[in-house]
């Protein structure tokens, strides 16, 4: 089994630990990942504000490169990228004139679309869930986490087509449960954290993140699991600022792939947990 792997801007900087843990998980499952050589930034949060045409062109150019590699499925772990790839595909297909213009600019004609998949969608197949279950080496059943999906993965559902309920998704919960981690019901699964305003409107972002963390605390979670580099950074780094305002959470924010890797027995030293701002290693130690 092999997927093209769009290992994009954020996975090489703010989300290095996401890339690292993801590689461990897919290696354990014996699934090969191949990075396209000629990738470029997909323009995610930036391009659509200035030019909707550019916002479609950049992801589709990347998909054209993947098509040329002879691969028909690409895994896109960054949810901002995933969102833009899916929107660009649906806009191209929805408008014949646009389709023609886009194909002329990227100098490529798709015979059939490249299938864009988030790692959650790949891992949630019955086959992969069963394999994950059989590979568990470490008991993490004492961990109670909330699965935070954020916004870009699930919405707008008509475009992203993420294979789950957009208002109350359970994909990440099912995967974490398969490796023995408990997940809790809570109300902020898909509330936006305000990620793209992180450096321009910290006031708004702190308000949104504190609401999410409040609800996680209220249901008794010891940690948050996320599938997105923006969410991870935002929920993690802002806790220090919130603490200064008297709101102390001390709630580690893990990539879901880090939790899976830990359950599969990847040693802590091989992961990059030290890159988290809220200390994330102490909740792993069994307390009961």
């Amino acid at each position: 089994m092999k997927y093209a792997y769009y290992n994009s801007c954020s996975l090489r900087s703010t989300g290095k630990e996401y890339n690292n843990s993801l590689q461990h998980v897919f290696k354990a499952l014996d699934i090969e990942l191949e990075e396209p050589k000629n990738w470029i930034c997909c323009g995610s949060t930036l391009a659509h504000n200035a030019s909707v045409l550019l916002a479609d062109i950049l992801p589709l150019k990347n998909l054209a490169e993947i098509d040329k590699m002879g691969l028909k499925e690409v895994m896109v772990p960054c949810t901002a990228c995933y969102n833009r790839f899916k929107i660009a595909q649906s806009e191209e297909k929805g408008d014949l004139r646009l389709e023609h213009e886009i194909e002329a600019i990227i100098e490529h004609k798709f015979e059939r679309p490249v299938s864009v998949l988030h790692p959650l969608e790949i891992l949630a197949s019955e086959e992969n869930l069963a394999r994950l279950k059989s590979l568990v080496k470490r008991d993490l059943s004492h961990l109670k986490v909330v699965s935070y999906y954020g916004c870009l993965l699930v919405r707008p559902h008509k475009e992203t087509g993420f294979k789950d309920n957009p208002e109350y998704p359970v994909t990440m919960d099912r995967i974490l449960n398969a490796v023995g981690i408990q997940t809790l019901d809570w109300s902020h699964k898909v509330e936006c954290c305000g990620g793209s305003l992180a450096i321009t409107r910290p006031d708004a972002v702190m308000k949104l993140t504190s609401k999410i963390l409040d609800d996680a605390m209220a249901v008794g979670a010891v940690a948050v699991a996320v599938p997105c580099t923006f969410c991870q950074l935002n929920l993690d780094i802002r806790q220090e600022d919130l603490a200064k305002q008297g709101k102390v959470y001390d709630m580690p924010v893990y990539y879901f792939t880090e939790l899976i890797a830990l359950a599969l027995g990847v040693p802590e030293k091989d992961l990059m947990l030290g890159k988290h701002f809220v200390e994330s290693e102490k909740v792993l130690a069994r307390t009961t």
């Binding site: 470029i40 659509h48 600019i105 919405r155 305000g194 793209s196 450096i199």
Partner: protein, 196 residues
């Protein structure tokens, strides 16, 4: 006590379609006239409390053709494209695309943004990916802080991220020649479309 200025009342007559709404439909394929003002978009919008005009009001103003009023709000700059409005809209109006359309028009027409830092962030970020072919976060953050005069405020966060090795100080080039070519082709196409 501040004087309360009278709020003008606006009415839509049946069948009325504003030129502004028509232009947005032609350019961006999204029809504001589908909206029946249920306000589901606003009640789900995470940023609504920070906005000059709620999403529901924006779409109504677009239908009325109040272009200057709409373009001078901070609403479309604060939109983070989380898709809650669009995902929940019973009329499938596509407010998300209307917000994009407003930003596109405002930039093209040189409207002074009501959220200068956010507008500058997008502009700086975009010229950054054009130059390098991929995002150079440290460069964008630094440049933005200098331009908006928030260097003091942002320094702490930058230092924390550098300490964790989450930012690279040196930019990497990633297929940047191709990126520049695409920017050029898109600009040319957009000029043609605006002229037609």
């Amino acid at each position: 006590m501040t004087e309360v200025t009278a709020i003008p009342e606006y009415y839509l007559t049946p069948g009325h379609i504003s030129e502004f709404a028509s232009n947005i439909k032609a350019m961006h394929g999204v029809d504001a006239n589908m909206c029946f003002q249920c306000s589901k978009c606003t009640s789900g919008c995470p940023l609504a409390e920070f906005m000059d005009m709620t999403p529901t009001q924006v779409i109504h103003a677009v239908r009325l053709g109040l272009k200057d009023v709409v373009l001078n709000t901070n609403t479309y700059w604060l939109c983070v494209a989380c898709g809650t409005c669009t995902g929940r809209c019973p009329q499938e109006t596509g407010l998300l695309k209307i917000m994009d359309a407003l930003a596109n028009i405002a930039i093209r027409e040189g409207i002074t943004p009501r959220e200068p830092a956010i507008a500058e962030f997008y502009k700086t970020g975009l010229s950054n990916i054009k130059r390098f072919g991929m995002m150079y976060e440290a460069g964008v953050a630094g440049m933005l802080s200098l331009k908006t005069g928030t260097l003091g405020r942002d320094m702490g966060m930058g230092v924390r991220m550098l300490q964790k090795g989450k930012l690279d100080l040196v930019p990497h080039f990633q297929n940047s020649g191709e990126m520049k070519k695409l920017f050029k082709k898109v600009a040319k196409k957009e000029q043609e479309m605006a002229g037609s």
